[in-house]
Symmetry: C2
DNA sequence: GAATATTAGTTGTTTTTGTAACTAACAAGG
DNA sequence: CCTTGTTAGTTACAAAAACAACTAATATTC
């Protein structure tokens, strides 16, 4: 069975990437899940709004490569939680601009700080150079800008 | 909004890892999906059996950190496709040993070769040293072996 | 060696996701 | 303008994942 297998699943990049992603997500998940009852997409939308300010659903989707139905549902949940407000664009009444409410901003700030610390903790087990290479490679693999 | 934000989502490791994982999985997915109608877990189980030989569901779950219900359903599908056979362990009749049928082995070999080539293609955009660092870091992040 | 606890694997139910089809608003070409 | 095409976002339905409860076999303990 293991005749000429110099190739193991443990080395297969998509597998490794998935495992690493899952493992690293788990630790952070409980913060937005337990504390705010959020789903991953909700947190990501919150994060984008907090980070880049007012955006439309479409812009968020493009930036984070999230499908529009996921965003639509996440925004609905966030609006229900009174974390975002929606305002129609008067020059193009199909689009709506999303902004964080004060409550949303405060949740964002808290989660951003946790995320920052979490990220730092992950990085601490590597050298600065290694982390730089990792980010560079992941960005390239993810097809995210320069 | 963007007051003191030196921290962007695009740099957050769990996000980057997830994006890279999703992106790289997508390219490989169509091979096992289109050609064999498999799901990701099915492919992973197939791969483990092909790679390590006879295993129990529990062993696969431990090695790949897949939940037992997912494995149970994947094995059921694979058995339905006549890719694996199950044999009860006579000394512990709760467990069953899974092995690939000839058809399963041939599917495994084909997908393994595709995976190998796919992996190589992913790596080609980086230097050998970079890839080594990436694998090392991902393994560490994933909590996989040495 | 009966009562209790564990373990391997399965099944059922609920959430979440993926996909397709939809509505409403806009754009362009004739 | 008015048909045709496109776009932003939603909704409905199907596929998949998560979680809990289950069965059957084995260990443990008193």
């Amino acid at each position: 069975m293991t005749e000429k297998d110099d190739f193991t699943l443990q080395d297969f990049l998509p597998f490794l990437l998935n495992r690493a992603a899952e493992e690293s997500s788990l630790g952070f998940q409980r913060h937005y899940k337990d504390r705010y009852g959020m789903l991953r997409t909700e947190w990501r939308v919150l994060f984008h709004l907090g980070n880049y300010g007012q955006m439309t659903a479409k812009e968020i989707g493009e930036r984070a490569k999230i499908h529009k139905t996921k965003i639509s549902r996440a925004v609905a949940k966030l609006a229900e939680k009174r974390f975002v407000t929606r305002t129609r664009d008067e020059s193009d009444r199909r689009a709506e601009h999303l902004t964080l409410t004060p409550a949303g901003q405060s949740a964002y700030r808290e989660l951003r700080d946790v995320a920052q610390e979490f990220d730092a903790k992950l990085c601490r087990q590597f050298t600065t150079g290694e982390v730089a290479i990792l980010r560079y490679m992941l960005r390239k693999l993810a097809g995210i800008g320069p």
